[in-house]
Subunit: 131 residues, 2 copies
């Protein structure tokens, strides 16, 4: 149902075409569960380790119930409130908490953790649900 | 240009209809800048303060160059790696770092900070750019 709403929203966006304001795109009506993970590498200077983690995260994207998938690195912004000491971020959108729970125990996710956990020394996760 | 690509993606999603796999929705080709802010309230027990912050964040969504806007609260997930002590999160997507820089100095954003900064005791920001 959530997914259908998402597609219908896409249809509205497409049909309205050039008449749309940014606002219409910026405010999806579908509420999501955002699972945002920040990784600190055990060897932050190792390009090989960085590339291995990124490659592994790309494979992880094959878990089928992920709505949006973003692998990131810190932006160039530097202010007192900005945490930029991590090396890699993973931002996943799910329809709801049940879908995220399914992801947690999906074989591809368990395999990812098992094969790559030696690469990081610290992981911080923020799970949030839209109000 | 980024925005047009986003709309075209919407059109493709709409036209393909039921033939789509989740994967097609999950993997946008457009790279984004994710600005994720976590707020710790000065008075975390105050429902009035929470509501004021959320209302102010909704107004903030009127900044026109925001691509996606999510106001969240911590999910029910509790594991050692999960940071769930914040009260409110704000996840914004921008086309790129230049667009996020414009947001930082937008009058609506400056007004938001000025009028509401007394509500929080701590803010942590993670800015990430898609690889």
């Amino acid at each position: 149902m959530e997914r259908r709403q998402f597609i219908q929203k896409g249809a509205t966006v497409a049909l309205a075409g050039g008449l749309l304001t940014n606002q219409a795109i910026a405010m999806p009506t579908t509420k999501v569960f955002i699972h945002h993970v920040y990784f600190w590498l055990a060897n932050p200077e190792s390009e090989a380790d960085l590339n291995q983690l990124i490659a592994a995260l790309k494979k992880l994207s094959e878990v089928p119930n992920i709505q949006q998938f973003h692998i990131g690195v810190p932006a160039d912004t530097r202010r007192e409130v900005i945490e930029s000491s991590y090396q890699v971020s993973l931002c996943l959108f799910f329809a709801d908490s049940e879908e995220e729970a399914i992801y947690q125990i999906h074989p591809l996710h368990l395999k990812f953790v098992e094969e790559n956990k030696h690469l990081w020394k610290k992981v911080v996760v923020y799970d949030s649900v839209d109000i």
